[in-house]
């Protein structure tokens, strides 16, 4: 009993130092030196100012930008939460219907054949993180009509930009391809500046 108490007390102090400080500091040290950009959140700077991170989605409402997926947390990366919308919730249905109506209204003007049934689910259902940096390629292709019109770019050109900013599956296998919205919009800005 006394032996256990001593071992517990000493053990916890030593292990807290090793696992709680030494280990994370060692990872931080190596990470900061070797993978400095990634370790600090893959920040994107424009003219020396931080405009966001390539890993964090942000809200876009202007017509000349590709729009991110709906976010429950208003794209706040420092206080994240899900919608927790249930699969059979009337609220869920209404929210999706609202997002769908807005999407149809926004995109339908530039893509007249667009029907509700064609809307990709990611465009009208909130992401898990609230800061999903990506949209599906299908979603981007629909929005491309609007971008091309507003930015007065050929649709092909926009589609090529989409391809350039589409991240593939991990090792070609894991996950799904997605279009990085922030990077794509930055590229658009560069393109039409």
């Amino acid at each position: 009993m006394k032996k256990d108490l001593t071992a517990t007390a000493v053990g916890l102090i030593v292990l807290t130092l090793v696992l709680g400080l030494l280990y994370p500091l060692a990872v931080t040290g190596v990470g900061q030196v070797v993978f400095n950009d990634a370790a600090n959140g893959s920040q994107i700077r424009v003219d020396g100012k931080v405009v966001g991170s390539r890993l964090l989605g942000q809200g876009f409402s202007r017509a000349e930008y590709f729009h991110s997926r709906p976010s429950q947390s208003d794209y706040n990366p420092s206080a994240t939460f899900f919608s927790n919308a249930g699969p059979n919730g009337a609220d869920t249905r209404d929210a999706i219907a609202r997002y769908a109506a807005a999407y149809l209204k926004t995109e339908g003007r530039y893509d007249p054949g667009l029907t509700r049934a064609q809307i990709p689910p990611d465009a009208v259902q909130t992401s898990a993180s609230g800061v999903d940096p990506q949209i599906t390629v299908a979603n981007a292709r629909i929005q491309a009509h609007r971008i091309a019109a507003v930015r007065r770019l050929p649709l092909d050109r926009v589609n090529r930009l989409i391809d350039d900013h589409t991240d593939g599956r991990g090792l070609g296998l894991f996950g799904e391809p997605g279009v990085n919205v922030l990077e794509l919009n930055l590229a658009l800005d560069k393109e039409t500046r």
Binding site: D4, T6, L15, V34, V50, L56, S129, F174
Partner: protein, 576 residues
């Protein structure tokens, strides 16, 4: 469902199966005392024993072993509680958070010491970096190490050693940490950093979005905590949305590695088991039984999610259910992750569990309701599984006309009594806690959604906590946090915090002690050599029987509850 989706699932299955015997063999060597890393880390190990003043060769009987494990866990709990409550006066607190209320902290401390990582708090708005690193992440290591140590001790009891003892707790704890968890975590953490997971101690970075909205990028020692959160089947995220947050899980690749990190230690322990009892097929039989559940669960969830939710269909949207899922993972990786994290008692999530379809949400619950024995928690999964194997051996053993025996050791009334306590106490607790919560106004306060979904939230909460999983139908809450600086004005829902905290402690330590007692009872018992008249426990027939026993003894208990929660939603288009 897509071909691509299935290919990634099958590749994942294959990689996991291939790595299992490798890590299993390595751990076997570690606990035999000749780890490959021994030449480098040996002096560290021996120095640690000197500091602790323990003799690693001094064997303990089951009571001694259990006492050490319990005292160590109690010490861990007290230390963690103190750190979390006092974080306001401790360093590495860039955001200046105060301590969370006592009831929430009781829940959180119990949660991390019990290897559960149920979180009523939102990490990035509650915890200082010191609390995350020195408090929570340390317990991510230690609770996992305790689990591994205990299962190794129990296996010694099952194996043909002549000793009546189970080993030395301090030695097993040290080896699990030093040779298994720490090196693996370090490698995985560095890989994660390279893939974009944040790892920084600098204060948050302000930014202005392209459309001029000001925001803050919260950074922290994420990757280092992430690695052990997965590896130790802990699951407590740095951020509130856990592994859905890109800083915790940046891409399809990090997601795959994350899932592998969750399952690899529990899976490999089956191989360690096989080696320790001197018959690797025994290990593969257990792996096979676990895998069967796992594969079926993945198929069901993937199919259900691909089908879409009634809410979205009624809103006129075709395609899979993307509510609460991330684009980079899609339906396939999200479904696989939801199953991986619930078959293992991890509880990390890369999608909102509450937004899964009815059937898609029933499966994760069912996974946990098995008692977290399909891979399960690090160590605890295997020892839980061994109890079901004993039950299967007992019922089937009678059917071949012999007193049931497992690995040549006769299973008697004492073992059955202990096994019944070990396997049934937790389901009992889940049912009673859920009933208490659903029937009382104190419990109803925590519910977010109405109708069957509210019932599912409650059922999920107590299932997850008592089985030490930690994932949630996250609408269910025990902590009200207004978005004010320093957590001003926040308060806990005491009923949910205490009941849940109690569930986690019972769910962790009762089976732990019981299974050590079983190991102790079997230790040193004479081993009867196997003959044609002994029932073989390393065959597919027996694997199927084990699966059947888990289905009939564990899952049957929860059928009525599952019907009234997720299943009823899965069977209807009605909106609630």
């Amino acid at each position: 469902m897509t071909v691509q989706g299935w290919i990634q699932i099958l590749v994942f299955f294959a990689v996991l199966t291939a790595l299992t015997p490798l890590l299993g063999a390595y751990m076997h060597r570690v606990f035999r005392g000749d780890a490959i890393l021994g030449s480098v880390l040996g002096p560290v190990e021996r120095g640690f024993y000197r500091l602790l003043r323990v003799d690693p060769r001094q064997e303990q009987d089951w009571k001694g072993y259990a006492r050490s494990a319990l005292i160590f866990s109690l010490g861990s709990w007290l230390l963690l509680y103190a750190i979390l409550r006092l974080q306001g006066s401790l360093p590495f607190n860039p955001a200046g958070f105060g301590g969370a209320p006592a009831d929430v902290t009781f829940n959180t401390s119990s949660s991390f010491v019990a290897n559960t990582n149920w979180q009523y708090y939102a990490g990035e708005t509650t915890m200082s970096n010191f609390s995350q690193m020195a408090g929570l992440a340390v317990q991510n290591f230690l609770s996992a190490a305790v689990g591994i140590a205990v299962v190794i001790a129990v296996i010694r009891g099952f194996s043909a050693r002549s000793l009546k003892t189970l080993g030395n707790f301090w030695s097993d704890l040290t080896r699990a940490t030093l040779y298994v968890l720490l090196p693996l975590a370090f490698v995985i953490a560095l890989f994660f950093v390279s893939q974009g997971l944040a790892q920084s101690l600098s204060p948050a970075q302000a930014f202005t979005s392209l459309e001029g909205v000001k925001g803050v990028i919260t950074l922290g020692p994420v990757a280092s905590q992430e690695a052990i959160k997965l590896l130790g089947t802990n699951g407590g995220g740095f951020f509130n949305v856990n592994s859905a947050m890109p800083f915790e899980n940046a891409s399809g690749l990090t997601n795959a590695v994350s899932m592998l990190a969750i399952l690899i230690v529990p899976a490999a322990l089956t191989a360690t088991f096989g080696r320790m009892v001197g018959n690797r097929r025994q290990g593969w039989m257990i792996y096979g039984a676990m895998f069967a559940f796992f594969a079926v669960a993945v198929a069901i969830v993937y199919a259900a999610e691909s089908h879409g939710s009634p809410a979205q269909q009624l809103a006129g949207i075709h395609g899979g259910n993307m509510e609460g899922k991330e684009t980079r993972f899609g339906i396939g990786s999200s479904s696989l992750f939801a199953v991986v994290t619930t078959v293992a008692s991890c509880g990390a999530v890369n999608a909102a569990m509450e937004s899964l379809t009815g059937i898609g949400g029933a499966i994760p619950m069912a996974n946990m309701m098995t008692g977290e024995v399909i891979f399960g928690g690090v160590g605890s999964g295997l020892y839980g599984m061994l109890m079901f194997v004993i039950l299967a051996v007992f019922i089937a053993g009678l059917m071949v006309g012999r007193t049931p025996e497992y690995l040549g050791k006769k299973i008697g009334a004492r073992e059955i009594k202990l096994t019944m306590i070990g396997t049934l106490a937790v389901p009992l607790f889940v049912l009673i806690a859920t009933a208490a919560a659903i029937a009382s106004r104190y419990g109803l306060k925590s519910i977010y959604n109405g109708g069957p979904q509210g019932f599912s939230e409650t059922l999920y909460a107590y299932t997850s906590q008592a089985n030490n999983n930690g994932s949630a139908f996250a609408g269910y809450t025990g902590f009200i946090q207004p978005n004010a600086p320093g957590n001003a004005g926040s308060f806990g829902i005491t009923f949910a915090d205490l009941l849940g905290g109690g569930a986690m402690l019972v769910g962790r330590f009762l089976p732990l002690v019981v299974v050590l007692a079983i190991g102790g009872a079997l230790a040193g018992r004479k081993v009867a050599p196997a003959g044609p008249g002994t029932m073989r426990t390393d065959t597919p027939t027996f694997g199927g029987l084990t699966v059947g026993t888990i289905l009939l003894v564990a899952l049957l208990t929860f059928v009525p509850a599952l019907l009234l929660g997720p299943v009823v939603q899965g069977l209807t288009d009605r909106m609630f």
